[in-house]
């Protein structure tokens, strides 16, 4: 595989695409939003259970999408479980800066952990929306906006 392509489709991404984590419904979510990318037909639902202390007790997703969007949603849910809403927003911002290439060549991405595998996406402008769809949907769910997230 070409090096640049290998950067985009890292093993972690292929693994999460094949067996996505938290790919299920939450029966009575406190927060839910739907995201849609009309360009490629990606469609995602993000469900959250946030307790009174503002901690994300459970988070899951369902939908259909490409490997990048599915792996991104899977890794996002793994990462955010147990975090506070404020932490989730902070990680969202950092992730967004990573994939939109706002962090420069040597980004400080320690707090992103495994999410760093999405660094390769910035070389593929057409795929940035794939990586960020789940995240925008999650943020909308947290803000309890019921309108659909549309990225294209």
């Amino acid at each position: 595989m070409d090096q640049e392509l290998r950067e985009l489709y890292q093993q972690v991404i292929l693994d999460h695409n094949k067996s996505p984590r938290n790919f299920r419904l939450i029966d009575h979510p406190t927060n839910h939003a739907e995201g849609y990318n009309p360009l490629c037909g990606d469609n995602i639902n993000v469900f959250l259970s946030v307790n009174d202390a503002g901690i994300i007790e459970d988070i899951s997703f369902q939908g259909s999408g490409c490997a990048i969007s599915k792996a991104s949603a899977s890794l996002m849910t793994s990462m955010l479980k147990g975090k506070t809403v404020a932490e989730a927003e902070k990680i969202f911002n950092k992730f967004h800066e990573l994939v939109t290439d706002k962090l420069g060549d040597n980004p400080d991405i320690d707090e992103l952990g495994k999410l760093a595998v999405f660094g390769g996406v910035r070389e593929f402008p057409a795929r940035v929306k794939c990586a960020s769809l789940a995240w925008h949907t999650m943020i909308n769910a947290l803000h309890n906006k019921n309108e659909k997230v549309v990225t294209e």
Partner: protein, 387 residues
């Protein structure tokens, strides 16, 4: 290493022959002037080039007269023109308009807008698992409330060639006019509008090896005469006062404003080019490529071809069980292969086949068997990574 381009996205747009580019450039370099206005030599020369393109197009589809050939921006505008002008005048509350499941959004939305405005109803002919119109369902849908039928000649997502002559004949037995969206058919099938007896026909220049931004609406002269103008402005009038305007004669009544002159000349050139090669030869070549590609991908694990109609143009749409079309598109791009991935502006059709999107390779006259091999090898590499 940069790989040679394998361009298999011809259903989206075709590459332009040098002849077309030269003819287009020649207008800007040697005869740039506005048409139908000036008495000076340059304007007359430009007018003549523009109008001779109209005659080339008239002959290409065998229209009765050049006043039946309207220049538009493309298929989408042609359909909107008919929906807006013919539709607003003739469609009333409770009327029905029939389209099919395999329509491009451009042959759905204008009719939907018209139906919403008039409180009319849009009826949809279903397709079978092969991606063919179920004709018996069309027979059931058509009734005394039906006032218009608009059907795609060849599907951009499936490649299906529809039995348009049969559809037109049945509709005409109820006195219902039929419009054909011929965007994908016109570069593959010989179209004779008199033999088909269609009432309207739309196509775009850029899918026919011509420029973007130029297209054609063919309409039977009796319809066009009775229809109100689509847009008002210069060129479409013969006399204007503040009290009243007399509209120009056909085809100018529907061509308000300065048109894409270079585009029209380029489209004429594209048709000259195609006719030199011969549409039958192009169709024969594309059918060979389609047959070869269909066979080659059939062995690939988990691949399902979407659109297996008996009669097809050179479009191969497919879906992998475990690989999303978008990933297919990115991988093939690295092999130098340009295909289209997505819903191809046919979202209702994607839902019919229960896929979010497909990957689509579409062939043009310049593609080769070797290029199909590059595509198939690329697909095999994808399976190695995702399999």
């Amino acid at each position: 290493m940069v790989k040679p381009l394998v361009y298999l996205d011809n259903a989206a747009t075709t590459q332009k022959p040098q002849y077309v580019i030269d003819k287009t450039n020649n207008y800007y370099e040697k005869m740039n002037a506005n048409i139908h206005r000036g008495v000076h030599a340059l304007s007359q020369e430009a007018t003549e080039a523009f109008e001779s393109s109209r005659i080339i197009i008239k002959n290409f589809i065998n229209a009765l007269g050049k006043n039946e050939i309207i220049f538009t921006r493309g298929t989408t505008e042609s359909i909107n023109l008919v929906a807006s002008s013919y539709g607003r005048k003739n469609i009333k509350e409770g009327d029905e308009i029939i389209i099919s499941t395999m329509e491009h959004h451009s042959n759905i939305v204008p009719w939907q807008m018209l139906c919403a405005e008039k409180n009319a109803k849009l009826r949809v002919i279903p397709v079978n698992d092969e991606g063919e119109i179920i004709f018996e369902e069309f027979e059931k849908l058509i009734n005394e409330k039906t006032k218009f039928v608009s059907i795609v000649y060849a599907s951009n997502s499936l490649g299906t060639v529809n039995p348009v002559k049969k559809i037109i004949d049945l509709a005409h037995s109820y006195n219902i006019p039929v419009m054909l969206d011929a965007a994908q058919a016109v570069n593959h099938l010989k179209i004779d509008v008199q033999q088909l007896d269609c009432d309207f026909l739309a196509f775009s220049g850029h899918k026919l090896y011509g420029p973007t931004g130029i297209g054609i609406l063919y309409g039977k002269v009796n319809h066009l005469e009775a229809m109100p103008p689509y847009q008002g402005g210069g060129d479409m009038i013969s006399k204007v006062t503040f009290e009243e305007t007399t509209y120009n004669e056909l085809p100018h009544k529907f061509e308000a404003g300065t048109p894409d002159i270079a585009g029209a000349i380029g489209l004429g050139a594209a048709i000259e080019y195609i006719e030199k090669i011969g549409l039958e030869n192009i169709a024969y070549h594309e059918n060979l490529l389609l047959e070869y590609a269909t066979k080659a991908v059939s062995d690939l694990q988990g691949l399902r071809i979407i659109g297996t109609a008996k009669e097809k143009i050179g479009v191969l749409s497919f879906h992998f069980e475990n690989v999303h079309p978008h990933d297919v598109g990115t991988f093939l791009d690295f092999e130098g292969v340009a295909i289209r991935t997505g819903h191809h502006c046919t979202q209702p059709l994607m839902r019919r086949f229960n896929v979010p999107a497909t990957s689509r390779a579409s062939f043009g006259m310049y593609n080769t068997i070797e290029e199909v091999d590059v595509l198939v090898n690329g697909l095999k590499k994808i399976l190695e990574v995702f399999g």
